[in-house]
Amino acid sequence: MRSNNMVAMILAGGRGTRLFDLTTKIAKPAVHFGGKYRIIDFPLSNCANSGISTVGVLTQYESVLLNAYVAGGHRWGMEGNGSGVFVLTPREKSSEDFQVYNGTADAITQNLDFLDNLDPEYVLILSGDHIYKMNYDQLLKFHIARDADATIAVLEVPFKEASRFGIMNTDEKDRILEFEEKPAHPKSNLASMGIYIFSYKTLRRYLMKDLKDANSSHDFGKDIIPAYLNDEKKLYAYRFRGYWKDVGTIDSLWEANMDLLDDSSRLNLMEDDWKIYTESENILPQYIGPDAVIENCSITEGCAVYGKAVNSVIGANAVIGEGAEVIDCVVNPGAIIGEGAKLTRCVVEDEIKVPAGAVYGSADSEHILLVAGGQKAV
């Protein structure tokens, strides 16, 4: 159902190099999360649940799987008239040479024709890298109520971590006065979540200007937002209070999965009125064998558990063999843990086979071990 005149554009071109083998063949937004989801299910489901019916997904790196996955939009219920999920990859244009997307703003600029056709009043810019549940319609209401030119969703982070983020310095009414990328001495703790609403007409003007600027890196954070601020446009910070996590590293991906097992983490995927939609597979329910031991786990359809699983997230069609133990692990879909194997604090890549008796990871490791391609990688 379309309940507003806003089109969402999801920037899904990231390589996700810090996820190592998980992203050699697939783009980061298509990486599995929580045993059955892919990261991009979160922004797409948020769009569907917020009444947004048209979404462009901008892809670039290793996008075959990702494009096929999001195309059509039926997984998120966006199949009605005039709605849908549209894959936007770099393309050859009659007026210029073929160019890949050079920066987040450039990706949108290269698809202005797509937006012009839809003629939206507002454009919502999202990224495909975060785990969170957010009602973008409330963000839009905030944007309209303040008659803003742009609204940026922010998260209050601990001051000691603020220098890792893009920080918004605001006045007492949350109007943004200054934007600092990873400041050494942060003046505020309002971190940008990479979620923006722009009034389209103004954004279009700024993008066209930015296109002609040879010195620009064509990035929303580095170029577009500062240009708005320079012209004293009305930018507001929208304070988001809820679960949000960037899952750009193996450690953070593991942590976000573990948050599913912790009731106090506020990451709850069981809410009926804000479901996260994903691909549906014709697979059996989960089977828990006669000698299985299960403690504090999240287990999904298609799994067969014969061994022991403790504090772990077990993905679709994964098999935990007899006598095998997985402790504090994320076992991605289709992975098979051989008999007697012992895994502690690991993320196991999709579809791989861990040999019987193998021992990976340890309870006191500093980092989480990625078990990939039949061997371990850190």
């Binding site: 929580g34 045993g35 059955k36 599913l260 097992l261 009731d263 995927l269 069981m270 479901k275 996260i276 939609y277 994903t278 549906s280 597979e281 014709n282 059996l284 329910p285 989960q286 089977y287 828990i288 064998g289 006669p290 000698d291 299985a292 031991v293 299960i294 403690e295 504090n296 786990c297 999240s298 287990i299 999904t300 359809e301 067969a304 997230v313 077990i314």
Partner: protein, 370 residues
């Protein structure tokens, strides 16, 4: 295969006490995430049948919700067709609401289908089968009607009320009679019939003219001498869900991975509606042993030898043993269930213990709070 698939409804020899008060047998939950009809419907679409009519005796809401437009079952939304049909008129008494009467009321949709064959099958037999094999046999034997059957050596105690076949050496059916438990060894008709469309139509019309109480199987029984009716045996795992104990038994048998492998073949998936439920969470002391669980459930107690549906909650200290818990049911803290069938949305909380037997599992009604 170019055939119209018809999923018929069962006559009054089939009664899954309690569960079928609320929905057709076709719509009863099985193995956590499935409904009874998923098996025969998946057999049809996996056999290349893209045009399916599902007949419903009464209470069609459940089936409409579950089957939707058939896209979950791989039916092409433009080329194929899934129709849910039912008698859109009042019958003077329920006894007149037969499969034949419903076929007659919807005859235009059968006549208007451009296919050479009709395949009729009920949903209460659960098995995995490629109907192309039946078609091959049908053409090879030049039969007028082919019918699937299963061999049993428990005819005295099970499959009562089902049709039992006598066949000669060439598998020609010579007698069809109701199984009244006379013989231990029997060939039980699975009521899946394949024939040319024009023959099907003329048999339906003849049945209707013969008696307002006739079912399709009745006219076939009359015609066994004048038509060439060929039996086609089926092996593998077969469940006949004609009573609550049989329904219970099938669910328990399907805790055995060997039976599951026979019913769920890699190249013939069983389709069902998907609900985007989150994975099932095992919290605190929550655990499961030798059980099958669908998604969306929260397990805080102990589940042993049981089938757990979607969005079920098993409370702290609860023990669920040898039981079937259907969608969105709740078992409260410290409740012990053994040999129980808990219907959808039921809550067992104040009653702390329920114990049934294999022959008589305890049934807790839909939406009951006890």
């Amino acid at each position: 295969m170019r055939a119209l698939g018809i999923i018929s409804f069962e006559d009054n020899t089939v009664s899954i006490d309690g569960l079928d008060e609320f929905r057709p047998v076709a719509a009863i939950g099985m193995m956590g995430r499935y409904r009874v009809i998923d098996f025969v419907l998946s057999n049809m679409t996996n056999s290349g049948i893209d045009n399916v009519q599902v007949y419903c005796k009464e209470k069609p809401r459940n089936l409409f919700e579950h089957l939707r437009d058939g896209s979950d079952y791989n039916i092409n939304s433009k080329r194929g067709n899934l129709r849910i049909l039912y008698g859109e008129r009042e019958f003077p008494a329920p006894v007149y609401n037969t499969d034949v009467a419903n076929f007659m009321l919807n005859m235009q949709y059968i006549e208007g289908t451009n296919v050479p064959y009709v395949l009729v099958a009920p949903s209460y037999f659960v098995y995995s089968y490629d109907f192309n094999d039946m078609l091959k046999e049908h053409e090879r034997t030049k039969a007028d009607v082919s019918v699937l059957y299963m061999n049993t050596n428990q005819g005295r105690t099970r499959y009562l009320g089902c049709d039992s076949l006598e066949v000669n050496k060439g598998h020609r059916v010579t007698v069809i009679r109701r199984n009244m438990g006379r013989y231990q060894r029997a060939k039980i008709s699975m009521e899946a019939y394949l024939m040319r469309k024009d023959l099907f139509i003329s048999l339906v019309k003849e049945a209707y003219e013969t008696s307002a109480l006739y079912w399709f199987k009745d006219i076939l029984r009359d015609k066994v001498d004048s038509l060439l009716v060929q039996g086609v045996p089926v092996g593998g795992y077969i469940a006949c869900l004609n009573s609550l104990p049989e329904y219970y038994r099938a669910n328990m048998e399907l805790l055995d991975p060997a039976n599951v492998r026979k019913l769920f073949k890699k190249d013939r998936p069983v389709y069902t509606q998907t609900r985007d439920s989150s994975p099932t969470a095992y919290k605190g002391e929550g655990k499961a042993v030798n059980s099958i669980l669908a998604n969306g459930s929260v397990i805080e107690g102990t589940v042993i030898n049981s089938q757990i549906g979607r969005n079920v909650h098993i409370g702290k200290g609860a023990v669920v043993r040898n039981s079937i818990i259907l969608t969105s049911a709740e078992v409260g803290p410290n409740v012990t269930l053994d040999h129980a069938v808990v219907d959808k949305y039921a809550i067992v909380k104040t009653v702390k213990e329920l114990t049934g037997t294999e022959e008589l599992p305890v049934y807790v009604k839909r939406r009951d709070r006890i």
